[in-house]
């Protein structure tokens, strides 16, 4: 492919040299080179001259690779999701702070209740 491209460029070079100035010449060569490299990249299968079954085989290989990649990624995603679920559960689980705090609230509230009662008792005594 590359040899063919160089051949074409040299042919164009000859034509261009005879017709246009040197500056236009360089621009033209660059353009052709870019076009050819683009063709090289996009139509690899055509350029490499593969027959249809071979091309199909290559497609199948690529598809298989993509599939295996997809499977790997989905497996990892599942693992990550599971980890997130475990993490969520551990976050939502009340810790020792909440437990002690809650007991403190209960004792404090009943303490206030008892205090109010005691105050009314004291007032009654007076």
């Amino acid at each position: 492919m590359i040899i063919v491209a160089f051949g074409e460029i040299s042919m164009l070079k000859k034509i261009n040299l005879s017709k246009t100035s040197k500056r236009q010449n360089i621009a033209g060569i660059t353009l052709v080179f870019l076009l050819l490299s683009f063709l090289c990249c996009t139509s690899h299968t055509f350029a490499s001259g593969l027959s249809e079954p071979e091309a199909e085989d290559q497609c199948g290989q690529v598809a298989a690779m993509l599939n295996s990649q997809k499977n790997e990624i989905s497996l990892e995603l599942r693992l990550i999701k599971r980890e997130i679920a475990v993490l969520k559960e551990s976050i939502s689980k009340p810790g020792i702070t909440e437990i002690i705090g809650g007991i403190g609230y209960i004792l404090g509230l009943f303490g206030i209740g008892y205090y109010i009662h005691a105050r009314s008792l004291m007032a009654a005594k007076k």
């Binding site: 909440e98 809650g102 007991i103 004792l107 009943f110 009662h117």
Partner: protein, 205 residues
């Protein structure tokens, strides 16, 4: 066993709030000042008990203790459970603030009933006390399960399906609660009979 926020329809939520508020106010009126420390301790026990998980196959259920609270506190049990549930919903995110009324009804009324049945069933002697306590403890949990099923019916669930599921899941809890209630009463009968409203003179006879 807690009903979460947004499960019950608004009418049921408001209605259960009203009922539980009235019951809590009645409970406060009935609570005597000298029983306040006991009530505080039992409330703490109820508050923490929901963290004791009993593994059950793939899932787990937790202790409820309405029976024991009812036996120990009598009419003050509703206040104790209401306060315990309130703090659980705030600190542990168990249940929710909007479903607090329904949860209080679900656990509070069985607790009151357990106290009542214990007083009726108890006879002289330690074994009779233990049996009455175990029965009341188990009964309260079973009734709480029934109340859960009834409340979920109002949310459009099928009663028999929910009832069966809840009862099957809580059958081990009912047994464990009965055992715990029995053991606690046995211990208190020996150590501090005054907690069970038994005067020491009766005990000596």
């Amino acid at each position: 066993m807690h009903i979460s926020d947004g499960v019950l329809p608004i009418s049921v939520t408001l209605g259960s709030y009203a009922i539980s508020m009235v019951a809590a106010a009645w409970s406060v009126r009935k609570t005597r000042a000298e029983n306040l420390p006991k009530t505080a301790v039992m409330t703490s026990a109820f508050f923490v008990a929901s963290l004791v998980h009993v593994p059950l196959g793939p899932t787990s259920v937790h202790l409820l203790l309405p029976g024991l609270i009812g036996i120990m506190l009598g009419p003050s049990a509703f206040l104790s459970i209401f306060l315990g549930l309130f703090l659980q919903s705030i600190l542990f995110q168990f249940g929710g603030l909007t479903s607090l009324g329904a949860n209080a009804i679900m656990m509070g009324f069985p607790a009151l009933l357990a106290g009542w049945t214990f007083n009726i069933l108890k006879r002289k002697g330690r074994t009779a006390h233990i049996l009455a306590g175990a029965f009341s403890g188990g009964l309260a949990t079973a009734l709480a399960t029934l109340a859960l099923a009834l409340l979920l019916v109002s949310a459009g669930e099928d009663f028999t399906a929910v009832g069966k599921l809840a009862f099957a899941a809580h059958l081990p809890v009912i047994c464990i609660e009965a055992i715990i209630s029995g053991c606690t009463i046995s211990f208190l009968y020996k150590v501090r009979p005054a907690f069970l409203n038994i005067s020491p003179t009766v005990l000596e006879k």
